[in-house]
Point group: C2
Chain length 242, copies 2
């Protein structure tokens, strides 16, 4: 079992148990490893996909590019997220996947994944679920950009990322690494860089979070979540029959 599949199992089993046969099946998938430098594209918008990638280390994001060259990041992805699973169904990419840090990924051919859907319905539902959770996260993001103040949006984002990093063992006791420049954060929040800088300053002023370089420490999750209006329901972090 490769680290990639181990991570995937961990992520999937967070939401429903996996049988030994299912784990076996995942382990048998063809995998092609690749690494990407910070700033490069794992997948280009408008490209045709014949395989889907699963990120094993590093931070990635989905990016929608606008005509004038500006971009909006529509999702951040942590290791273990099957980032590109959407491509299995979409076939033609509507967005690109970019490496926010150096990162490594594993590509799994669509032929293998389609075969999996033919013989493992429950596992298929869990993979489907993972794309559905992506959609739920995006909905929360729409609500944040559309109706929350920048400060609340940022607090919300940090709460979410903390829980998601924790699931894959990359966060504990309130600490995790978020290797994004303020300019990247601006592309997530849908704000200008300057305003993002001021929003981060406002966040620091609350005292709920310390954020130096790329290290985040949540001092008071309770109050941070309260300020953000954060409710983790949308992350579906509950194990139950699916």
């Amino acid at each position: 079992m490769t680290p990639a599949i181990e991570l995937l199992c961990r992520a999937l089993s967070r939401r429903d148990g996996l049988s030994p046969e299912e784990i076996e099946l995942l382990a048998s998938l063809t995998q092609k490893k690749a690494t990407f430098a910070k700033g490069t594209e794992l997948i280009s918008a408008h490209s045709r996909a014949y395989s889907s990638c699963l990120v094993t280390s590093g931070l990635t994001a989905r990016a929608v590019m606008l005509e004038d060259g500006r971009r909006q990041l529509t999702a951040l992805h942590v290791p273990g997220d099957f980032v590109d699973l959407h491509a299995l169904l979409l076939k033609v990419m509507d967005h690109s996947v970019v490496a926010m840090t150096n990162c490594s990924a594993v590509f799994i051919p669509h032929a293998d994944l389609t075969a999996l859907t033919e013989k493992a319905p429950h596992l298929t539902r869990l993979l489907w679920l993972s794309t559905t959770v992506d959609a739920a996260i995006q909905r929360e993001m729409i609500a944040s950009i559309g109706r929350r103040t920048p400060l609340k949006h940022l607090c919300h984002l940090i709460c979410e990322l903390y829980l998601r990093f924790e699931v894959v063992g990359l966060a504990e006791s309130g600490r995790f690494q978020l290797a994004l420049t303020q300019s990247d954060v601006a592309d997530v929040l849908g704000l200008s860089v300057v305003h993002t800088n001021r929003t981060i300053r406002a966040l620091r002023a609350t005292g709920f979070v310390s954020w130096r370089n790329f290290d985040i420490e949540i001092k008071d999750f309770e109050r941070l979540a309260d300020l953000a209006g954060f409710d983790p329901t949308y992350l579906s972090l509950v194990s139950e029959p699916r």
Copy 2:
């Protein structure tokens, strides 16, 4: 075959062919009809779902409510959209589904849908695809709210809705009905009502669209799409093996 299933077949087959057996299987699903008055909830946030609804007439939307009572609509759904299919996997709703107009819907038990995933992998993938397209639409929406001007956002929305209405036969020669108040549109765009009103005025001033009462007529789709930076790739309106 009920009208609901006919609509669903039409929507699914837009993206890949359905075999007679698959159509048969869809037709055999248990369906419970229901109607909803404008403004009511088809599905409440935080509720536990045991069935999923498919809207057969009327306009529905997904809504994320904020603590202060304001709301952000994260998606609009046209008849034939399997709006609530996400609930099959999520089990607990992260958002509510509201009736923007009087509408009718059909509820299909999760037991039936799960059974379908056990015996019809290709059909399962097409249903999965429909939730993935929802996600793609949401990504475009994030880009619109975050980085497009309100006018461009509105133009983009109209282009998208026109194509989606057209797929289900509810739009032709540039015309369709959009029974939303400006206050509702504001909740979609993430703007105040007043600003939405001014944005609509700006839209009228372009001359590309006429919009009186609830009737929209696109006079010049070409230029409207150009102004919006609209690229329909994300709607996956292409039939191919999935």
